[in-house]
């Protein structure tokens, strides 16, 4: 079955991202396809490649990246909402240079795109499960 996930909260502050990750992992292990994970609102903070938790703690960002959720073209299907990302200082290379900002922090396992991607996930998936606060 095709399943998509929406994550509305950032890592370490709320349990939402951890629950969503465990759910995605279990779904993949059961042979389901995770069509897309859409990170919305504070959920965009799950995509920062600068995150450095203590050694004895889980790295939520790397955990998501290690799931390797990609489409047939090899593009990441861990999708970060562009409006939510830009206002929180979450930038990829293209957005940084477009806005004349030195540096970018989006983890390469994620990509920035628009809200249409969430709608498309809802249409093309059999299920959409929302995790938030």
């Amino acid at each position: 079955m095709k399943i998509s996930i929406q994550v509305n909260e950032g890592p370490y502050q709320h349990q939402a991202s951890d629950t969503a990750y465990q759910f995605a992992k279990a779904a993949i292990e059961k042979g389901h396809e995770i069509f897309r994970v859409f990170f919305y609102h504070d959920g965009v903070n799950n995509a920062s490649r600068f995150t450095l938790p203590p050694q004895d703690d889980r790295n939520v960002i790397n955990q998501w990246a290690e799931l390797g959720i990609k489409n047939a073209d090899g593009e990441p299907e861990l999708v970060v909402c562009i409006a939510a990302a830009l206002r929180r200082g979450m930038l990829d290379e293209s957005e940084a240079s477009k806005n004349d900002i030195n540096g970018n922090n989006l983890h390469p396992a994620f990509r920035i795109s628009g809200l249409g991607q969430l709608i498309e996930a809802g249409i093309k998936s059999d299920r959409l499960v929302v995790f938030g606060d």
């Binding site: 939402a16 629950t19 759910f23 279990a26 059961k30 389901h32 499960v129 938030g132």
Partner: protein, 98 residues
């Protein structure tokens, strides 16, 4: 439908809102702080009827993390993350009362 509740009924009204909406064929899954509603406490009667019908599930990891395994209310079914996935697959649309 699958109704997912992730907040304690002592903190938010989401459990009450869900109970006002849920139909006879739908089931409820308690996750995160929502599992507090699976404990024997003053709010336990809220879900007792639904639980008797075998329609209330709680995420085992979250139940254990909050130390309520030994005071679980009657007829609550425990599931792991794999069971969570099965509920999503079996019950169609999943509604998160966030």
């Amino acid at each position: 439908m699958l109704h997912i509740v992730n907040k304690s009924s002592f903190e938010r009204n989401s459990l009450k809102s869900c109970l006002n909406t849920i139909d006879d064929t739908s089931v409820m899954l308690l996750i995160e702080d929502g599992v507090i509603s699976a404990a024997k406490n003053t709010n336990a009667p809220m879900i007792a009827d639904l639980a008797v019908q075998g329609r209330v599930y709680a995420l085992q990891g979250d139940v254990e993390a909050r130390g309520i395994s030994s005071k679980l209310a009657d007829n609550i079914k425990l599931v792991g993350y794999a069971g969570f996935v099965d509920l999503v697959v079996e019950h169609g649309t999943a509604v998160s009362w966030v």
